[in-house]
């Protein structure tokens, strides 16, 4: 004990000796939860400070780029009045995302398990993904009216592709030896699917959900831009028309918050399901 104590007071003694405290501090900052959040805060504060500085130094007019302070004030005062729009956008995103899961995962299972379905559906899926879906927004409005339906459809359309692709990749990429093992034990394809294929594909599926949920939010906002009179997309469009840039920026900040929260909800699911597995090697 005495030895340890005396040594710790002696270090650092030379340039080659590891300097303990700064190394540990760096370790905490890089790895620890508090450190991670701290780093995020540092970068956010830096960006806001630069933003504020730019607006003041170049005296940029409020209707071009509002200063962070005025955005914050608008956020504080208007969030109540646009709370129904926040709810609308969140709901459209979640319903669209759920629809994409309900359609996408069974579709992916069908594609992964049948050559015929793969050849029939895959080219169509790739083609439909190649079409800029924003171009379809007016068509959806013509079909489904100005309510929430076209926005939900838009959200689902955007989220569908990454969910289907990553589920197919996960299901097809299962180690053939695992499938052989199932066949050797005389397990039918449904049992092999339940015990081996699906759990093996889970990391890939959750990866697709992460991409999908962010795209669903994009889809909902695009739908709101094109038609209707609710949602944060509509708020942004109106604010821009009325030169209330600080309101537009407040809505954008809210969208960022929604996107991040939804992303981390899936991330949480991932941790719950996959915490026992080997880290990506």
């Amino acid at each position: 004990m005495a030895d340890v104590l005396s040594r710790s007071t002696e270090t650092p003694s030379g340039p080659d000796e590891p300097v303990e405290t700064p190394t540990r501090l760096r370790h905490v900052i890089q790895r620890g939860w508090v450190g991670q959040v701290g780093l995020v805060l540092v970068s956010v504060v830096a960006i806001v400070a630069i933003w504020e500085l730019v607006v003041v130094v170049f005296s940029i007019p409020k209707f071009t780029l509002p200063a962070p302070v005025s955005v914050a004030s608008t956020l504080f005062h208007s969030t109540g009045s646009i709370s129904s729009d926040i709810a609308v956008t969140v709901e459209e995103t979640i319903v669209g995302f759920a629809a994409a899961i309900v359609v996408g995962i069974p579709l992916a299972v069908a594609i992964a398990s049948s050559r015929l379905v793969e050849r029939l559906v895959y080219p169509m899926l790739v083609t439909s993904n190649a079409v800029p879906k924003i171009a379809l927004a007016p068509v959806f409005i013509a079909w489904f009216g100005l309510g929430s339906v076209p926005r939900v459809v838009m959200a689902a359309m955007l989220a569908l592709f990454p969910i289907v692709i990553s589920t197919v990749v996960g299901l097809v990429g299962v180690d053939p030896a695992l499938i052989l093992l199932g066949r050797a034990a005389d397990a039918g394809s449904s049992r092999i699917f339940r015990l081996i294929r699906l759990p093996a594909a889970l990391p890939s599926i959750l990866g697709g959900l992460k991409v999908g949920v962010t795209l669903a939010l994009t889809g909902a906002v695009v739908g709101e831009f094109v038609g209707g009179n609710t949602g944060l997309g509509y708020v942004i469009e109106q604010a821009q028309g009325n030169l209330r840039m600080s309101l537009a920026f407040a809505a954008i900040v809210l969208l960022a918050v929604i996107g991040v929260v939804l992303f981390y909800l899936i991330d949480l699911l991932e941790h719950l399901f996959l915490h026992n597995r080997r880290k990506a090697s």
Partner: protein, 280 residues
């Protein structure tokens, strides 16, 4: 070359007297061939006119250069690969699909990363649609036999390569198979672990009284564990000959310097050289 354990009749003599009576042999391979259709040119002949008999309780190694069809032969006996000609009979029944009392382990341990060690062993029961409660005790006993009882609730990524392979072996033995098929099961572990696993598996197979077929490209490993080594040559895959290893089982580390071991290993090498498996 008549062996009490393994017999490879000449390709044309599947009906000639002198063969073991089918009732005595546990695995009977007769004139088995396997061609794979190639996209261009001639079909690839993986196996041609392979015949051999394996007696109950025997440990048989199959050794040969890459591409000699030894893994294809194992998969055909497992009922996972259909031969294009000939027939395979296991315990009196023509092989048409996986034989229920067969255990199998592959080169990669193929453990499920999301299951604990015990749950990986019990996968055998789950895949067969059997209630796992009847197998938990046996699963634990098997883990104890390979010295992993303390790791039952660990996850595979917490285990070393050799430990993982032992778990895979327990999984292959859970349902008390009478035939154990090992397809290069020690190919992915380091040399020292491999020698230890050779001893472990030799003991386990002896205790379990399970007929075992080991496919490997390692001559020393093939000889160390086996009653008889089937030497195969490539393109097309045929049986070049059989070398008997006349020594009691289970084998221990010291067997590597035993004259019987050295004699058999030399015989296998000479056979490979004589049949083109080795360049001079």
């Amino acid at each position: 070359m008549v062996s009490p354990i393994v017999e490879a009749p000449a390709p044309t003599v599947s009906s000639t007297p002198g063969l073991l009576p089918p009732s005595r042999s546990q695995v009977s391979v007769r004139g088995v061939g396997k061609r794979f259709a190639a996209r261009k040119g001639a079909a690839v002949v993986a196996l041609e006119q392979v015949s051999l008999d394996i007696l109950p309780g025997a440990f048989v190694s199959v050794v040969g250069p890459s591409g000699c069809g030894k893994s294809t032969l194992l998969l055909a006996i497992a009922g996972l690969e259909r031969p294009t000609s000939g027939s395979i009979v296991v315990e009196g029944e023509e092989v048409k699909g996986p034989f229920p009392r067969m255990g199998i382990a592959f080169q990669r341990d193929s453990l499920l990363e999301w299951r604990t060690v015990l749950d990986n062993v019990l996968l055998q029961a789950d895949l067969r649609g059997r209630s796992r409660s009847g197998y938990i005790e046996r699963g634990r006993a098997l883990l104890q036999m390979v010295g992993l009882e303390a790791f039952a609730s660990h996850y595979p990524h917490e285990l070393s390569g050799g430990m993982r392979q032992r778990v895979a072996l327990c999984r292959a033995l859970l349902h008390e198979p009478t035939l154990l098929l090992l397809d290069e099961p020690f190919g992915a572990v380091d040399a020292l672990t491999r020698e230890q696993l050779n001893v472990d598996v030799s003991g386990i197979c002896e205790v379990s009284n399970v007929t075992t077929m080991l496919v490997t490209h390692d001559i020393n490993e093939a000889v160390f564990m086996a009653d008889a080594v089937v030497v195969m040559t490539s393109r097309p895959g045929t049986v070049a000959g059989i070398v008997e290893v006349d020594a009691p089982k289970p084998r221990t580390h010291g067997f590597r310097s035993d004259p019987a071991f050295l004699r058999a290993a030399t015989a296998v090498r000479e056979l490979l050289e004589a049949t083109g498996g080795f360049r001079r």
